[in-house]
């Protein structure tokens, strides 16, 4: 996966993300806006299947957090990885703020379905694709984050590790575990929708949904 996919760019990339970020941090709104144009869609995609309120606050907070630099930018990270790490922290803070009556939300155990039971599966019409998105919402949030970054954004295990702040090896384990959870959730959902998933190739299916989401 290249640093920033060329198809998302409004004009040829003459300036790197990192240069734009530094310029934005030192006060250039134009640089900030260019960076925003490049990465808005990815950030929007990140939040859209995870919250049921309007995502604008979290999207805004994510970009603000980038320019404020509260999350450390590892020297060897790509900006996209850094951006997703910030988005991930923003999402965690959001769910934490929804905590009610002392029920601690365990980011690794609680699913978006449990947190916000109204699926925003608007982006796809096809029922089998909707099953996949719905199943993603029903696995623990962190597993959902891991898989969506893997499938939609094409991040490597090492990059995902940076986003969720775990070592490379742990990230690989998390991806494997998340895939198992997703498989189980899909079977459960498919039963409810009378959909045959016995021949399902999870990766190919996810890629077909990705085509829809990225279009």
């Amino acid at each position: 996966m290249p640093d920033a996919p060329a198809r998302l760019l409004p004009c040829p990339a003459v300036t790197t993300d990192r240069e734009l970020l530094e310029a934005w941090r030192s006060g250039s709104a134009a640089a900030g806006e260019a960076l925003f144009e490049r990465h808005f869609d990815a950030v929007m995609r990140f939040f859209r299947n995870k919250i049921d309120d309007g995502p604008e606050e979290l999207v805004q907070r994510t970009f603000l957090a980038c320019v404020e630099g509260r999350t450390r930018f590892r020297g060897d990270s790509t900006f996209r990885t850094y951006l997703f790490a910030v988005a991930h922290n923003t999402l965690k803070a959001h769910f934490r703020s929804r905590r009610r009556r002392g029920v601690e939300i365990d980011f690794t155990a609680e699913s978006v379905w449990g947190l916000a039971p109204s699926p925003s599966t608007l982006a796809v019409r096809d029922r089998s694709q909707r099953v996949l998105l719905d199943a993603l919402r029903r696995i623990p949030v962190q597993s959902q984050v891991v898989l969506e970054l893997h499938y939609w954004e094409g991040l490597t295990a090492a990059e995902i590790g940076e986003v969720i702040d775990v070592p490379h090896g742990t990230a690989k384990t998390r991806i494997r575990r998340a895939r198992q959870l997703l498989g189980a959730a899909i079977e459960e959902r498919a039963r409810g929708e009378s959909l045959d998933v016995s021949q399902l190739d999870l990766d190919a299916w996810a890629q077909s949904v990705r085509q829809v989401l990225l279009r």
Binding site: F36, M44, Q60, R61, A109, P119
Partner: protein
């Protein structure tokens, strides 16, 4: 982003692969959010998003298949609610049919049905423009305790809306509290008739011309759905009647008559029928009418909404027209009776309260978390742990039920008994919660920890209860190893106690901006104690804005807390420099002001306020912080809050 537009056809071409083919590249929602955030971050580009002749003003909510926006109708100069639906299927024919069905709904005109102004299509998305109702959904409206006369009126109006639709041959299919608006004008309107079915392609008209849905598709919200709908069979007006009765009983008692985490479990619950206590505090006539509407066999329900409407008619109307003084007294008595019955809610929710702490979800979460734990937990250890927890849960529920059946001696005693049971649950939660987080090391200690919990059977014993309350409050100080979260966290768990609270508000809140704040208790305050943290955000503003936060440190009659004699409050906040002020009030025994301090600082460095010699008496301390903060997040900490350990 730019190339996504190139392969888009206009209007009706609904290719399945075009996920968000509208309003430019990626749909109304992308365009709206992008424009808003760009405007907020860079102060420009906040161009309005348009759907046909409507200008999108903001987002009102989201359902499973739709997003609702507040919008402005440029031609007719009025505000509307605009619902965007994404029809399943991709042929123009299906789309045209959806449009016809929606227009049939638009012809329905009744004071208790939200009028639909227009149905149309925008870049492949079906939109329905309807009246913008100022008010609250029934769900939100019920968050405030309501008296029965008020509630009955709302239910009756909603029932009238349903009845009118049924007469016109329209079935709602998704009647639930979210689809009932209680207007600020007092008029109730039912929303979204048949809309749940519009997203599905399998509907047709039957011989009688009634809009029906192809069997085999689950449409609606399971918790409120009639059994024939859960079984994916055809749903007619009697399905709406069933949903109405579920909503009415939930509104009156705070609890739905059927519960289940899966569709199968719900189906079993519906077949078994409601428990004998369902609707016990309603008048016999209303209760019988609602229970009949809940019959699992549609034939056994009422033939129409009419009998339900009659049952909901106010009794003996002339009594409400007696002279003012008498009716005020009457209302007072009624309100009293109602609030007594609301107190009993704690009895009704006992099982659910317990399930929230140690129920099937907690059990499966813990099992799952511990399965991944390193080192792994032995199966025998986990079995022993769950047996101990189950045993305590049984004892708790039995004791709670017994106390409820005996009934309260008086309000004060009832409250103390209820608190006792809540504390017992809260303590049980402290044993369970680490398990849910996968803390394998504590699994072995579960039986002994459970054994050391307060015996819930003793909650009905005044002496045992009050001595436990004393012991429990002493335990307030954080344990040396930091494992015990301490009394402060009880604020999160026990609504009747108030040991700490934080809020933040931005003055701009009233002129368009918003602010939010949450408070958490964290270990590791600077002096090794606990820290209260108020994290807030000021949103939707370009300019620095005033924000405030208030922290209470107090005690209640049930659990006195002594503030540490050498405690100090220290504030610090992240954000850009700006002048701010801190005020500290100390209040003795809840009423007498003891001290007021005021401190203005030029920057955001830490400020300390010595609590001094507050140890001997019981004090409430209120610290207020006011500052100027940048848009975005701010972070306020009150460090080193502690309690004396005596």
């Amino acid at each position: 982003m730019t190339d996504a537009t190139t392969n888009e056809g206009p209007g009706l071409e609904l290719a399945a692969t075009h996920a968000d083919a509208s309003a430019g590249e990626k749909g109304v929602e992308y365009a709206r959010v992008k424009s808003l955030v760009r405007g907020a971050l860079f102060g420009r580009g906040d161009t309005p998003v348009r759907i046909g002749r409507f200008t999108v003003l903001g987002r009102l909510g989201q359902g499973a298949m739709s997003v609702v926006y507040a919008a402005y109708d440029d031609e007719l100069d009025r505000k509307v609610a605009l619902k965007l639906l994404r029809p399943e299927g991709n042929d123009a024919q299906a789309s045209a049919r959806l449009r016809r069905e929606a227009q049939a709904i638009a012809r329905l005109s009744h004071p208790n049905v939200v009028p639909v102004y227009e149905v149309g299509e925008h870049d492949g998305e079906l939109f329905i423009a309807m009246e913008f109702v100022r008010g609250a959904t029934l769900r939100t409206w019920l968050e405030t305790a309501r008296g029965w006369p008020e509630l009955r009126d709302v239910l009756q109006q909603a029932a009238q809306g349903l009845a009118a639709a049924h007469e016109a041959g329209i079935v709602h299919r998704d009647f639930k509290p979210e689809n009932v608006m209680v207007g600020d004008d007092g008029r109730v309107r039912v929303l979204d008739f048949g809309v749940a079915a519009l997203g599905e392609s399998g509907q047709h008209r039957d011989d009688a011309g009634v809009l029906q849905t192809r069997a085999g598709t689950l449409i609606g919200t399971p918790a409120y759905m009639a059994p024939e709908g859960l079984a994916r069979r055809v749903v007619d007006a009697r399905g709406d009647q069933f949903s109405f009765c579920v909503v009415a009983l939930e509104a009156a008692s705070g609890r739905r008559p059927f519960e289940g985490e899966t569709i199968e479990a719900l189906q079993r619950a519906v077949e078994t029928g409601p428990s004998s206590s369902t609707g016990a505090d309603l008048s016999p006539g209303v209760r019988a009418a609602l229970l009949q509407g809940l019959s699992s066999d549609p034939e056994a329900r009422h033939a129409s909404m009419a009998p339900l409407l009659r049952a909901l008619d106010p009794p003996a109307a002339p009594r409400w027209r007696t002279p003012v003084v008498t009716s005020l007294v009457g209302a007072g008595v009624l309100a009293g009776a109602w609030s007594m019955s609301r107190t009993d809610d704690r009895c009704r929710t006992a099982e659910a309260d317990l399930a929230a702490v140690w129920g099937s979800q907690a059990r499966s979460e813990a099992t799952r978390a511990l399965a991944d734990a390193q080192p792994p937990v032995a199966l025998g250890t986990w079995t022993d742990a769950t047996l101990a927890l189950d045993g305590y849960a049984d004892r708790w529920l039995n004791a709670r039920t017994e106390a409820c059946e005996r009934g309260p001696d008086d309000d004060e005693t009832a409250l103390q008994v209820a608190l006792c049971f809540e504390w017992a649950l809260s303590d049980l939660g402290r044993v369970v919660d680490p398990l849910r987080e996968g803390a394998a090391s504590v699994a072995e200690d579960v039986p002994s920890r459970v054994a050391s919990l307060f015996d819930p059977g003793q909650c009905s014993d005044a002496a045992a209860r009050s001595s436990w309350a004393r012991v429990r409050s002493q335990r307030a100080a954080p344990a040396p190893d930091g494992s015990e979260s301490g009394l402060l966290s009880d604020f999160e768990q026990v609504p009747y106690t108030r040991f700490g609270a934080g809020w933040a508000v931005s003055t701009d809140h009233f002129v368009g901006g918003t602010s939010t704040a949450t408070m958490t208790v964290e270990e590791g305050g600077r002096g090794g104690g606990q820290a209260l943290r108020v994290a807030g955000e000021v949103l939707g503003k370009q300019q620095p804005t005033w924000a405030g936060a208030m922290v209470f440190l107090g005690a209640t009659p049930f659990a006195p807390a002594n503030l540490q004699s050498k405690g100090a409050l220290s504030f610090w906040a992240r954000g850009k420099p700006g002048p701010y002020a801190v005020m500290l009030f100390t209040v003795r025994n809840g009423f007498e002001p003891a001290r007021v301090e005021f401190d203005v600082r030029e920057d955001w460095t830490r400020t300390q306020i010595d609590l001094g010699a507050l140890s001997d008496e019981r004090y409430d301390v209120t610290a207020i912080f006011i500052g100027r903060v940048r848009p975005g997040a701010f972070d306020l900490r009150v460090d080193d809050v502690g309690f004396a350990d005596d």
